[in-house]
Symmetry: none
Subunit: 402 residues, 2 copies
């Protein structure tokens, strides 16, 4: 069903839908106990909820494909994560909540070191402190170009974002940009992949030349590399697609930025999961769709810390009743991808999922974990279908056809 067809089916309402995303939720068995993180954790509230819910496993992007945070979340927001992949530069901008506009071309930038002959001697300028990066970005804010406005923002250490804003820009540029990928070589010019991108390439090259003149005496960060040129995918908002007023609650900028791409309003400035739930309660009446992001599961998984991931799951479980007390009409507990502690990385494995709503079959799972969700009424299904299921349960989708 395409966007236009879906929009025709969407109906307004006041039911409340909550999507809670435990980042990196899915896991793999511990080699000794043969139990996954979820099977190991004491999560009585999640287990009880699973018994009373529709459960399944989501495939975030495609079988065998390990998703980054971008595709993992866009799928849960109901978008095709492959057609709407976010390029490197744009994701970097999203990750610092830079207010990227349609038409902007964003690049990922590195401050680096070049020698007297102009050869790169350190692609990361010795990982300068973030404060230095902020100062250098300030220096480069004064650069002007003919036909586009350059906007620069620090990320962390040597990393910054460069955005060109103006009419008729193109991101059809070779992704390696000025970065020759190896030290000892001079920076390359930005090259267009098509005639339509020639002017944009010229503008980026002009910016690089002006930046080099300003940075000349700022050793070790005496040059700036740019690459990963990308525009934002043009996503219809959740409001346009489903008629929901959508609010997002997340501690980390990346997830706030991703939510904004889907047209959600970012709520509050929570520092902890407890803050997030308080923010949810505070805005309960003003929105009817909420995305709540929980990061500690992924962080522990990425660190390969099985026990800490177990504890992160338990900490989530302990506060879950506060969400249940708000009595959402539809509650989804989902993950953007698996991050098995035994792999210490994201993975392709399908992710446990539950949906609690007013019109459930359910009853197949005896708890919330990988093998129990495998038995669930929803089966193994693409993550991008989850939101549509939630809309159905919330009474937000009309009958299709007569």
């Amino acid at each position: 069903m395409d966007d236009a067809q879906l929009r025709e089916l969407a109906i307004a309402g006041t039911s409340k839908i909550v999507l809670m995303v435990l980042d990196g939720l899915g896991g793999l068995p511990h080699p000794e106990t043969r139990r996954t993180e979820l099977e190991t954790a004491a999560i009585p509230h999640l287990d009880r909820l699973a018994i009373e819910s529709e459960t399944g496993l989501t495939i975030p992007v495609a079988p065998g494909i390990t998703p980054g945070s971008g595709p993992g979340h866009l799928a849960l927001f109901g978008y095709d994560p492959i057609a709407n992949n976010i390029g490197r530069g744009a994701l970097e901008a999203v990750g610092i909540e830079f207010p990227l506009q349609p038409g902007d071309v964003a690049a990922r930038g590195n401050f680096c070191t070049v020698d007297a002959e102009g050869r790169i001697t350190d692609r990361r300028a010795g990982r300068i402190p973030t404060e230095t990066c902020v100062e250098l970005c300030h220096l480069l804010e004064g650069i002007t170009l003919d036909g586009a406005t350059p906007l620069i923002a620090p990320v962390r250490e040597h990393r910054f974002v460069l955005v060109l804003r103006g009419p008729d820009l193109s991101d059809d540029l070779y992704p390696n940009g000025t970065d020759p990928q190896h030290e000892g070589l001079p920076p390359l010019p930005v090259q267009p992949r098509s005639p339509a991108a020639e002017r944009t390439a010229m503008l980026f090259n002009e910016w690089v030349a002006k930046a080099a003149a300003i940075l000349r005496d700022k050793h070790p960060a005496n040059f700036a590399l740019v690459r990963g040129f990308a525009r934002l995918p043009n996503l219809p908002s959740l409001e346009a697609r489903y008629g929901v007023r959508a609010g997002a609650i997340a501690v980390y900028p990346m997830y706030r930025g991703l939510a904004r791409l889907a047209g959600m309003t970012v709520l509050g400035k929570p520092a902890t999961f407890a803050d997030e739930i308080a923010t949810l309660a505070e805005h309960w009446d003003a929105y009817d769709f909420f995305f709540v992001h929980y990061k500690p599961t992924d962080s522990a998984g990425e660190d390969g810390d099985f026990q800490r991931k177990v504890e992160a799951l338990q900490a989530f479980d302990q506060l879950l009743p506060r969400v249940l007390d708000l009595k959402p009409d539809v509650l989804m507990i989902a993950g953007d991808h698996s991050t098995p502690a035994v792999m210490a990385s994201h993975s392709w494995h399908p992710v446990p999922f539950l949906l609690h709503g007013p019109h459930m079959r359910g009853g197949e799972s005896n708890g919330f974990n990988e093998p129990e969700c495998r038995k669930g009424s929803l089966g193994i299904f693409p993550a991008r279908n989850a939101l549509q299921l939630a809309m159905a349960h919330a009474g937000r989708l009309q009958k299709f056809g007569a």
Copy 2:
């Protein structure tokens, strides 16, 4: 995910992946015992492997669609079996390992009998012996055409393959070719379906006229019919798609030919399954992906011989430890389609599948058969996704998106 996107994710490595295809693996219950061939067979090694593996059922082409050998294998090699269907003439050429080149147009040929008025009296020329077919093909090798080179090769009995090789040929010809489909009628001219195919049609008709002149006195095989004009699908090789060096091991020419289409190197000249495993061991260091084909399951199924199919499964199981001893990083046990003995034909039923690798959940199946694989962690999934999963387990796919 399209080919170009997949190629960007592929990473080189040295892990070993083995795909073992038991032809016609899936079955149906025996009407008396109510157990399928796999449930009936004593297959302790497969059963134990299933318990320790990710299991599921593959849909070879689409629900309800019974595949031939071509689509069944192309799906397991990771290609879309519908978009890349191999036309009749090209599959005939593949089946005799004729070295078809891109641009060649292959036709399936029949020696037939025509009467004095030129009407077909026997479309198969009384099924002449294969030796006669070989002799007649030799006679026709001398035919030359202006603008294309005709190449002819015997298949068996009255059947041969005719290939036109040259610039700007088209396979957009009506598939029935010169065959009027009924005896008592004269042969038809080859007809183009589009202007671009007019010259190719003319060349085939010229060849048929020259062949008729040569065969005039060779009763009963005094005429040659051609039909099923087809070019090869232009498949990117497994090496181009996934960066694997792929080797294929099969007793029968058809499967060796199909593997060659996927860019695999055909290894050895095995006559038995034991030979195939010896070939596998011999080439173990030189390749990192191996396709091993096992035919007896399909032959017994096609013959409707339930007990012989059970024995074929048992024979496979007995030699399986020799494969396990090689310690592949990822081992898949799969089938190209089902061939239930009770149907004595290929069928559309999903096919038992297992994948043993380094990052498994698993533990849901208590043996290797249709109902146990149905409970498995992989669910019911398209066969063409299997290879992508194997690549993930083998550490050959990068993260998608950041």
